[in-house]
Amino acid sequence: MEQNKEMTAVESLQLITETFNNSRRGILRNSAKYFILWGTVLTLTSLAIYLLWHFTGKPEWNYLWFVMPTIGYGVAAFLGRYDVAVPKNEISRMVGGMWSVFGAFSITLSAIAVFLVPMHVTLIIAIIMGLAECMSGVLLKNWAIIICGFIFGIGGAVFAIMMKSEAQLLIFTLGGVLLLVTGLIIKLQYK
């Protein structure tokens, strides 16, 4: 790219549009890696806890949920150190902020349910995760993500009521796969 090249009005507008769109696509494509990361961590954690609970009969394995954010944020920070820092735009900031709020709600509610006031935390998290997924789809203007979030939120709520003990954890395995699929959809949408 040259700084002194004479440009026509059309060339200038083309340059602005192309640069702006390339940057926007890159930023949104970059957000896919966080969906894939958290989807993988959630799938593996929920499966591990399910299997440990199933084979030992001890629900205490659920304390491992509190390790999951440490692993997720640790890996995200590690990956961030070696990447070219991709900036945030309005959409990526809102999507990231919304999932951070979801994470804060989930961790706090789980801690309250375990240590203070027992509640049906699986049901609540399934609903708010479905909502967060739906809202991500709205912000990214992607119907597939909206529909996935809707099905997960409603289906997860019904599943959480119907299933007992460790079988409920499979909702989060499905949720993890859903995040992975969302990440892949975003990658395809903004390739």
Binding site: Q3, V84, P87
Partner: protein, 96 residues
Amino acid sequence: MFPKLDPLLHSELRLAVMSVLAGVEEADFTYLKKQTGATSGNLSVQIDKLTAAGYITVEKGFKGKMPRTACRITPAGAEAFRNYVDALKTYLSAGE
């Protein structure tokens, strides 16, 4: 009478830098280099010109142990960019 195009923005690399910065909160030097395909030296010179005009601000710091240069568009820069785009549209509509 056509509006005058801002000579500072009517340059391929500076316009590309402003186009990236117009859509983000802030961007690293390395990101701008990747997006524009410019050399470090050339990009530095153009960033200095945009900074001197008050169109962008540059903040130097560290990310971990690595030096980091973050660029951000200023309100004056955003307005100049809008005016430039409006002026381009005038040229194009006159040509139709």
